[in-house]
Symmetry: C2
């Protein structure tokens, strides 16, 4: 849905009259000569990267140039500080790369797209692979072409921290999580008396607070691929790109690569790394720890790269660094492991992991029992894992899914939650770092905050957010070690938190998001009154705003009215709602809607599906969704079945050694440098 | 529109079957005995406050009790720590107040409202006036009634800071300003190259960052009256209430009062205080510095209280503290000063201020010239001041308004902006504090961020936000002292910034909001393509999301395309858009909509009016608004003509002595205590 817009064509097409930005010739390349990494790129000392150069000759369209013949005799030099500009092959002491040539086409704007009038561009290109800059300072990378044209990329190799402050790093990502969602989650899960909370989110209580800007390289709205690339590599990239700059070549796996924080940690310290997600494990946010591709949808190759590195995917290219099999891989997405059309090369990748020495587990019971000494793969369902609300409140929704990770057609009813996976991951990473005292690096993602916001299922999104918060709390120090299976029975296995294992004071914990969604709560809704009205306009009168918004109905027992003088906890303890289906719900809205119905009530039967394909073939209101609700027409293209990401800065919360650096307002790429500095990953050079 | 729901009636009505929260019997009083200040109230040492006690006897409805006869023999005592509970009159050494009696009625829920079935409550009450608690510690205020019922309010008098850190305090309030708006303003006003900003908002660069929770006393959505009350008094209150707890009595001016930060500063230091706003100056956010009423719409009395104190409005009640005529009063709202039906007592209040020694000015030219030694009233238009966009980009919109502050029927074309007013205010406050070296306190409000968000006029809201940011920047240190009149001619008067007058290192600057709106940017819009489509669904295809959101069209010259490699500034310097009407605009949405049209384009002819009263008599889409756009049906009651406030936490930015205290996540009431502690206002007791 949000893949690259460039498509490769072999023929030259007629001229287009318009010129605009909705579609780009190539993101990050405003001129006809392109340098990747582009202007305004910062590097960690010693971080591996590729360079891609392209010279464009548009055959037609508003930029048509040079009769469609690109300059093949371009030159490229690197200048450090005020020094001379040295030919790049000499500067890096590598062989001059071979010339490559291809064509691609694109539409210049929506009018051109409607008319089918594409613009074709012929390209001459070279790529340098597996480079490093080992001296801090400023650099200029200069591409000269078309006799006098020049594209200059200013690069900075940042001065690295010399002292390692943090032994371990745990990076929690609430995918799509905004402050408005954190506020809403607090409202439904924490009791307030006369406007003052009696308990707080764990995030509220973190030592340091910051904001990060999420804009991507070439569009102001980002997706989870390029935002994860920014967080893990310190580099801005294009939508859908994982740790590469998207070039215009046909191959999704030859784009210029960048080394990630996980790969750096592995290479520099030799320590264990972990990836935990409630998504299918080839999804963008975990994938960006280890994989390199312009197209986040290449799931089999992404799984292959986890285990065997980038060179196994594209054997012609030298790429010197990899995750070398993360020590912990926990999530969903069994379809990319079970031998078949969506597994790497059609092979059984459970077996491939076992052959590399992994323990492999398929349910929460086995996850809790598995030994901690070996690398461990835990895949607990096909597709994304079940949502907290369905596991805890509506467990019947786990049935009839035929999503067992073993592929035997049964239901994956014993799925772990984020907390189960994260605490077990700490156990394993801690056991595996002990021998050499290397410390560990882990990313743990609450993926379905985003996935449920996309389908306007605010309740499930907030459930995932509360599970994330509970996981952070338990990671620091659990108050009680209660582990339940999906039926509520005590699973009773002992799992670790940082304080218990004596690592809390050694561990930098960073909690942030990769982008936002335009969600906010604006009032209360009397769902009983709403359901009793038959007219769409009358239904809207069920919404109470300002003084009629009332108090949270979620923190009192079912059937009770919200009052100001009691504090009651549900079976999940003080950090979750007492009930999810009160008469008086919160009323929330979303800035970027598909056509949908709104009834301000929880979907008991599983995640929402707001829009479906109607008789016209385009997406329209799903009549089966929120049947008591009223119709809201959309504000985004009718091709979009879901809400879309938004611009707003997202919050950063941090505890532990090095966490002071996360205060204030900064770019998402700075998260990489702050973590790298806490670990002193640039200091070895 | 958002006044209190309680209405006073004289007759007793029939029974109601339902019971709910949309309407409350009395906010902050879940039981039949009410204590104000209620449970969970914190005080500054020595802060003046009133106590109101009420015992309710509902005649009918679900809570009907005691045959509708309230207990008149209730008792009330105060207990400090583990000491005895002492009768309140004795504890405070005051006379036992007289018993008061009245009735009020309310609807228990929407069904009851539809049926016209109200519930009547008879009340017995007492009020203690002008009290103080001068010893830090915990207190319990216990109301005993109906032979065995008890309502307990737990109070805390916080341990005050003993050392004054800040000489001056400037509190900037961006009314309704969220982080999503700050992010959008940054996008349109600051040039980004490859996803990295080349300049930043002043707010981005402040030393300390925090978040505050905005919930009100008795509803989770707040308005600007009770949120300002929280910021200025440290007390949660109800929607529409200014520095009082809303009681159920008929009189809007006998509700229990609370002393504000401005009044405390005046009383404790004797120093000058300033109020600056782009709203009419009786509007809630400035009003809450000095006024006390349950109903923010009592504008004449609010103005009267600025000058003559609370006792002048309700002479029967003793209230020992007041603003005593703020030294600076700058804003709009001439209709409350020109002698007539909306001025206090019908009198000429310009004259009343002059009689108290004020200089009075009516336009920017005179504002800049006026002497700095006297108290100064500057009223620059009727109603709210003109918006930054209309003053700077579309000045023709200032014409034919007949809004001259003098009431002569001419146009107020020479209106100052927030920066003009704020810098001049600093001049006056600095001059007036010098003799006794008291320091000064000022609140400066960008009011129309909120007002323009209400009408979905995102462009004007962001213009106001950028003006606020520019004002903060200039308050710290201006790079150039350019002051223009509305025609762009250089007005050339010298105005002060904190660095120039040597007060920067003495001044605590706090920038925050009072609440949010559910606004966010989710893409780009090709307004040319949108206008060319005739079908509402096709128009939505003009929106580009993710990689098609593109780059900001606002930071390049008109007619140019957004590119990544140029930095151009408009005539307003680097902190405003180069153009406001690019082909490629941002596409933004709002969670809480009235019916409206959306075309993602600026309204050139003045602020938007999204919904108007249709043939049905209810509010419907305004066909004249955004005529190129498509129809979006609303998500809130059809009685709402505007978008409504939202729940999300808002950001706090702070610089200067005491500003470290503003880091992290806290309640809006804590802002009062942090400012009071920076000024050591509790230390005198």
């Amino acid at each position: 849905m949000w893949g690259p817009t460039a498509v490769t064509v072999a023929v030259l097409l007629g001229a287009s009259a318009a010129s605009a930005q909705t579609f780009k010739r190539l993101g990050g390349c405003p001129k006809l000569g392109c340098v990747f990494p582009p202007d305004h790129t910062d590097f960690l000392v010693g971080q591996h990267f590729d360079i891609r150069l392209e010279v464009h000759a548009p055959v037609n369209g508003t930029e048509a140039y040079s009769g469609g013949v690109p300059d093949e005799k371009f030159s490229f030099c690197i200048q450090r500080g005020y020094g001379p500009c040295t030919d790049a092959a000499k500067f890096f002491n590598v062989k001059e790369p071979a010339l490559e040539k291809w064509s691609f086409s694109y539409f210049e704007d929506l009018f051109a797209q409607d008319a089918g009038a594409s613009t074709t561009v012929n390209v001459a290109s070279k790529a340098f692979r597996g480079l490093q800059l080992t001296t801090p300072g400023t650099y200029q990378a200069k591409l000269k072409y078309y006799k006098g044209s020049e594209t200059v990329a200013n690069w900075v190799v940042r001065e690295p921290a010399q002292r390692r402050k943090a032994k371990n790093v745990i990076l929690f990502i609430g995918d799509g999580m905004t402050q408005a969602m954190i506020t809403a989650a607090r409202l439904i899960a924490h009791k307030s008396v006369n406007g003052r909370y009696q308990s707080l989110m764990q995030m509220d209580q973190m030592d340091n607070l910051g904001h990060q800007m999420t804009h991507s390289l070439d569009s102001f709205i980002t997706d989870s691929a390029n935002s994860a690339t920014a967080l893990y590599t310190g580099k801005k990239a294009s939508v859908s790109a994982l740790n590469v700059y998207a070039d215009s070549s046909p191959n999704s796996f030859d784009d210029p690569k960048i080394e990630t924080i996980a790969q750096l940690f592995r290479r520099v310290t030799g320590g264990p790394i972990g990836m935990v997600s409630t998504a299918f494990i080839a999804d963008a946010t975990p994938a960006a720890l280890c994989a390199h591709t312009r197209d986040r949808n290449q799931f089999p190759q992404i799984i292959q790269e986890y285990l065997q590195g980038a060179s196994s995917v594209n054997s012609t290219l030298k790429w010197p660094t990899g995750c070398d099999g993360p020590d912990v891989v926990f999530g969903g997405g069994a379809e990319n492991f079970i031998a078949g059309p969506t597994s790497p090369g059609g092979a059984d990748y459970y077996k491939a992991f076992k052959d590399k020495g992994y323990n492999v587990v398929y349910n929460n019971k086995d996850l809790q029992k598995v030994a901690t000494d070996k690398k461990t793969l835990g895949i607990f369902s096909k597709s994304n894992l079940a949502k907290w609300i369905d596991r805890h409140v509506y467990p019947q929704n786990l049935l009839n899914q035929k999503n067992s990770p073993t592929g035997d057609g049964t239901d994956a009813t014993d799925q772990p939650g984020l907390k189960d996976m994260t605490l077990k991951a700490i156990d394993i990473l801690q056991a595996r770092q002990k021998k050499k005292n290397t410390g560990f690096f882990m990313m743990s993602e609450a993926a379905s905050i985003d996935k449920m916001m996309h389908v306007l299922d605010y309740d499930r999104a907030l459930g995932e957010l509360l599970e994330l918060d509970d996981t952070i709390r338990a990671t620091i120090a659990r108050k009680y070690a209660r582990v339940c299976d999906y039926r509520g029975a005590d699973a009773g296995y002992i799992i670790s938190d940082l304080k218990k294992i004596g690592e809390y004071q050694n561990t930098l914990i960073v909690v942030t998001a990769d982008h936002g969604h335009g969600f906010d709560v604006f009032g209360g809704a009397d769902t009983k009154y709403l359901a009793a009205q038959t007219d769409d306009r009358n239904k809207r009168n069920a919404v109470g705003v300002y003084e009629s918004s009332g108090l949270s109905g979620y923190t009192v027992a079912e059937g009770s009215l919200p009052t100001n003088d009691t504090v009651i906890y549900g079976s999940e303890g003080p950090n979750f709602p007492v009930q999810w289906n009160p008469r008086y719900t919160y009323a929330a809205g979303f800035g970027a809607n598909p056509d949908h119905r709104e009834g301000y009530a929880i979907n008991k039967n599983g995640p929402r599906l707001p829009a479906t394909r109607g008789s016209s073939g385009t997406l329209e209101v799903n009549p089966a969704d929120q049947p008591n609700g009223f119709i809201v027409n959309g504000t985004i293209p009718v091709s979009q079945s879901q809400g879309v990401h938004s611009l707003q800065d997202v919050s950063v919360f941090a505890n532990g050694p090095g966490s002071e650096a996360f205060r204030g307002v900064y770019n998402n790429i700075d998260i990489f440098f702050k973590i790298a500095d806490a670990l002193a990953l640039g200091a070895q050079h």
